[in-house]
């Protein structure tokens, strides 16, 4: 066993073999891979649920399932995708793996807490699964709105507890990351030398830390209501159901930024590497990450414009909502400007990133339609909203997740995948995506409500098209993962720096050794200085 052996060969704590070298490990890289494993499991599960929902909607009337099953399916699709996939995906997998390496540390600050977070995630998963089999799957939608969530006879409590525990897991991950970034940066790395992915995780971690407790207490209150019927949200007992919505969105709107910020961080890493050009506006991107984290916490009530809130609140929250567009746009402009006059190298991660920029922009701009109080009344709770947030969450975070998988796959596993299949998959996913969600914008404007089991015949064409797009999308995703998994047949021979990256993770072997760094990391004055890379990598020699 030598210093440079990869972490796959070096269990930590030492001496354990097989499954135990994983289950009680405190190595941040192994924990990241354990997250990858379970998160992908849930992602595939929720994808299938989503596909079944769209299949049901492809024709008027009953197609493949009954209404109650349909309700359970969209609830589970939402709960799993949000709490078990999107929120943990990038921070827990790539954040855990890369954050310590990017700041020159050998692990996170609280390795035991890190493992505990993973176990909390598993416990939450178990609660989520158990709600399927005991007492009937929940049918409230992932928002658990009262009074229905209090009065329904399905087993909502288990799902609520699942979300509660998963929130705790996410909170502890955030706590760990903040402490790590503050205390474990390698000597000489100042704040403005931290890579942008780590910066985005830092901003995210603060939102995770300060917003998640509000969700915890809200979900607990609903559980209490179900157990003791206190009446805090029950209008007949003096309660105010709208306050539930306030509390819920106080977390769940910032949660949108927990989901998207790490994705933006990924894109900020990928674009400069393949443009062979320093990132445009490093400080602006850092500042906009923090600004999004702050402004994103002030706008929660824009989900409630039609709920019966006061007109003053509608006005204020609509105004504030427009503010969030500014830092988001700053980032998009920075990415585009980075590519301008760059020496662009096309690779699968870059293709996914380009998809991200386009789809996220569409998602962001349609968000303004929803944020404007007037138009919101028209499209509230229609398929327009469904299309909007899938463009942001899937077209944004989902694509960033795929881009990150392709970008760091050789680093994590030491194996390179086939580019051709990856390009085909990326193209199929993008085309399928647009076919799948574009019709929903139109359906929404025509008035097709979301979450309805059935609809009027005039919506059938749009739903049919969306369904077909969905199948193309899923095929593309399947192809993408098959391609990635096929790389395990290749030799483990990926270079330490296959792309020409400049941040610290590209200075260590692929896969990294147990303590990450063989020799003390060298800190550059500026993390995105490509002058050496341009000399070393001639155009077109990435294979």
């Amino acid at each position: 066993m030598t210093e440079t052996d990869s972490f796959f060969e070096t269990p930590a704590p030492a001496g354990y073999k097989g499954i135990w070298s994983w289950l009680i490990t405190m190595d941040h890289k192994r924990i990241a891979l354990m997250y990858l494993f379970v998160i992908l499991f849930w992602f595939f599960g929720a994808l299938i649920l989503g596909l079944l929902i769209r299949t049901e909607l492809m024709s008027v009337g009953k197609t493949i399932m009954g209404a109650q099953t349909y309700n359970a399916m969209f609830t589970l699709h939402g709960v799993i995708m949000i709490f078990l996939f999107i929120i943990p995906a990038i921070p827990a997998i790539f954040g855990n793996f890369l954050l310590p390496i990017q700041i020159g540390a050998d692990d996170v600050f609280f390795p035991k807490l890190n493992l505990l977070s993973w176990y909390l995630y598993i416990l939450g998963s178990i609660f989520a699964i158990s709600s399927l089999f005991f007492g009937g799957p929940p049918d409230t939608g992932w928002t658990f709105y009262v009074p229905f969530s209090v009065s329904t006879n399905t087993n909502v409590s288990a799902t609520l507890m699942a979300a509660f525990i998963l929130g705790m897991s996410s909170m502890l991950t955030g706590l760990n990351f903040i402490t790590t970034i503050h205390r474990m940066r390698v000597k000489g790395m100042r704040w403005l030398q931290i890579p942008l992915f780590t910066w985005s995780l830092y901003a995210t971690a603060w939102v995770q830390l300060l917003a998640t407790p509000i969700l915890s207490i809200t979900l607990l209150l609903v559980v209490f209501e179900r157990m003791f019927a206190i009446g805090l949200f029950d209008a007949s007992k003096g309660g105010d159901p709208l306050l539930y919505q306030h509390l819920f969105w106080m977390y769940s709107h910032p949660a949108v930024y927990i989901m998207i910020l790490p994705g933006m961080g990924v894109i900020s890493e990928i674009i400069p590497v393949f443009s062979r050009k320093s990132i445009f506006g490093y400080k602006a991107i850092v500042a906009s990450s923090m600004a999004i984290a702050i402004a994103g916490s002030l706008v929660w009530a824009h989900h409630m414009f039609t709920s019966g809130m006061s007109d003053v609140a509608v006005f204020v929250f609509s105004l504030l909502t427009f503010l969030v567009a500014i830092p988001s746009a700053v980032k998009v402009f920075s990415w585009i400007s980075t590519m301008y006059k760059g020496s662009i190298q096309m690779t699968p991660p870059l293709l996914f990133s380009l998809g991200f920029i386009y789809l996220f922009s569409v998602g962001g701009l349609t968000g303004l339609v929803l944020g404007a109080a007037g138009t919101n009344i028209h499209v509230h709770d229609t398929h327009f909203v469904v299309a909007h947030f899938h463009f942001v969450m899937f077209g944004g975070t989902g694509f960033a997740f795929f881009a990150a998988l392709h970008f760091w796959w050789p680093k994590i596993f030491g194996r390179m995948y086939d580019f051709k299949r990856a390009y085909v998959a990326a193209t199929m996913i993008t085309i399928g995506f647009i076919f799948h969600y574009m019709p929903m914008f139109i359906l929404g404007i025509m008035g097709h409500p979301r979450r309805y089991y059935d609809y009027m015949p005039r919506f059938e064409t749009g739903n049919m098209l969306a369904g077909i797009g969905g199948y193309i999308l899923i095929t593309g995703i399947a192809l993408m993962f098959v391609n990635l998994f096929l790389s395990f047949k290749n030799k483990r021979d990926a270079l330490a720096d296959p792309w020409g990256g400049t941040t610290l993770e590209w200075s260590v072997p692929s896969p990294p050794p147990l303590h990450n760094f063989v020799s003390p990391p060298e800190i550059k004055d500026y993390p995105y200085d490509f002058s050496d890379v341009v000399k070393k990598f001639k155009p077109g020699n990435i294979t």
Binding site: F109, L210, F228, L232, G238
Partner: protein
């Protein structure tokens, strides 16, 4: 390269971050309190008058004293008087027990008078009163749970001091558990006037 575990500054930062999550957790309840106070000012005053000022005040005073004891025990350990330190922590745990006992009596009296969640008197009475007592039970219940957790943490500290695992050079655990106990006290500092002293 493993230097992390002696970094008490870092673990204290972690502890503070954790305390922030606890503050935000209770903030959720204070948001409800603020909103409902705005909606039912009269009923809340009526409800506050039904709570025992005596129990509230006694609990406030003893909790403040216990907080002092915990702060003093950190001083004691740094002045190398481990026995005194352990004694002060043990006193704080005992005070926590008295606090819970008072709470038990108080809840018992209320329940005896037909004031408990979903009680017929509350459900059919003025809506604001039902909300006030609903919040009363949730807030003090959750706070009581935190007292119990804090007591467990402090017991661990006593044990660790007596077995010399917490000492003058290594008091991070004691300090962090102490921070938790102070936080529980701070929450009560706000609960007391909001629930008991509302006029």
């Amino acid at each position: 390269m493993k230097t992390t575990h002696s970094d008490t500054k870092g673990s204290r930062l972690g502890m503070w971050l954790f305390l922030y999550t606890e503050i935000l957790l209770f903030t959720g309840l204070f948001i409800l309190y603020a909103a409902y106070l705005k909606k039912y000012p009269i009923d809340f005053i009526e409800g506050g008058k039904e709570l025992s000022l005596f129990f509230g005040a006694v609990n406030t005073v003893i909790l403040l004293i216990s907080s002092f004891a915990v702060a003093a025990s950190v001083t004691a350990i740094r002045k190398q008087s481990a026995k005194l330190s352990a004694g002060l922590i043990a006193a704080a745990v005992m005070i926590g027990g008295v606090f819970l006992f008072n709470k038990y009596i108080e809840w018992g009296q209320k329940i005896h008078h037909g004031i408990y969640p979903n009680a017929p008197d509350l459900v059919n009475g003025p809506p604001g009163k039902n909300i006030f007592f609903g919040l009363y039970y949730v807030i003090t219940g959750l706070h009581g749970l935190h007292i119990i957790i804090g007591m467990i943490l402090l017991c661990v500290c006593v044990f660790m001091i007596l077995t010399n695992r917490i000492h003058e050079g290594n008091d991070g655990v004691l300090e962090n558990c102490g921070l938790y106990w102070h936080l529980v006290d701070i929450i009560w500092i706000f609960i007391f006037p909001l629930l008991y002293l509302i006029v």
